[in-house]
Symmetry: C2
Subunit: 215 residues, 2 copies
């Protein structure tokens, strides 16, 4: 049964990192600090960096990272996560992930700009561009997932829109043990997820707090 999943990085003070984004710094300032424990995992190093040496952490963070990559049949992301805002006039832009993106599934990019043709990539990823309401895009992604899950990848504007609309079944927050003091506040004007979802908390060896909201 398809579930709609989302994984987000957030600091102890509730800020996510969207300051200082530019083509040269696509994830913005502080992203490295927010995701440090995650990108140190063996699973991430293997699946995203292509590191086959088996290096990387193998504890609780890695267990969540492995789950992150499992059972996803389609992905949805915002235009900024794909990089459309950074390269608005480049029809050849294919995202930040190289020729073989780690999704291995159809990826629906939300955009309000002119329609673009879909971009098939190596390894099973195809980028599709959609400008309809998120509910419609989700319905299409759900169909494409063929019984597997749909993941909403981000960025934060997209994430908050799905949360506000109550569309997320499983939310996994990686709370880094740092403060940002600036950026986008994840929790502003969101419905009380604890009323609709079961909350689970776990701390990894890195100090990262894993919060899962499941309904």
């Amino acid at each position: 049964m398809t579930r709609v999943r989302m994984d987000l990085f957030v600091a102890l003070d509730g800020y996510t990192s969207t300051t200082g984004q530019s083509p040269e710094n696509p994830m913005g300032d502080d992203w490295g600090r927010l995701t440090e424990a995650y990108s140190a995992t063996r699973t991430f190093r293997q699946n995203v960096f292509g590191d086959t040496t088996g290096s990387g952490t193998t504890g609780i963070d890695d267990a969540y990272a492995a789950a992150f990559f499992e059972g996803v049949g389609a992905e949805i992301m915002g235009a900024s996560m794909f990089g459309l805002h950074a390269f608005p006039d480049d029809p050849q832009w294919k995202g930040w992930w190289g020729d073989r993106p780690p999704f291995g599934a159809p990826v629906y990019v939300l955009t309000h700009t002119a329609p673009r043709p879909s971009i098939p990539m190596e390894g099973g990823t195809t980028f599709h561009f959609r400008s309809g309401p998120i509910e419609d895009v989700l319905a299409e992604a759900r169909e494409a997932a063929g019984g597997l899950d749909v993941r909403v990848g981000g960025g934060m504007g997209t994430a908050r829109a799905f949360l506000r609309a109550g569309l997320i079944d499983d939310l996994h927050l990686l709370v880094a043990p740092i403060m940002l003091g600036r950026g986008t506040r994840l929790w502003d004007e969101l419905p009380g997820l604890d009323l609709t979802h079961k909350v689970r908390t776990e701390v990894a060896e890195s100090g990262t707090i894993h919060l899962t909201f499941t309904r």
Copy 2:
């Protein structure tokens, strides 16, 4: 060596509970939900409710509760925590804690209203009222603590003033696995505590996340 300590309750979304305070509801709405796991501990039930039956939880939450009551030689709290705002015209007001408050030490109440005489209570607690700068009150409390620690008790305005001034050595946050969606935001415009303090994260059986910031 005296350390300045503070323990605060906060929800996952960074809100603390100061909505709906009144004389009949002195801690405001949501306080019960925020402190549920803490007031369920054996230590709290014994030290605050006077429950000598040994009932209550005995896990990680209780270990923190026991530490909360140990080694404090003086306490500082804001006027609202003492109840001066709720009972401004009652010179006989002695706080919310009955004849034998659980502090057992001098308690310095910060107030800008007319000076009041100190109030000695049973069990070693004496309430003093001070209108000077927090640094001066802290110096007096430090002296009175006689080598034990000084605890800053709250409420949130007082807590944030001490944090902004960089006066807290040890901050313990009890993050309840709930969302409030309203109230005072703990983290607004505070210095990045992770730059000056070591952060430690631990999850209790109740799902409460214990965050400690130590310098």
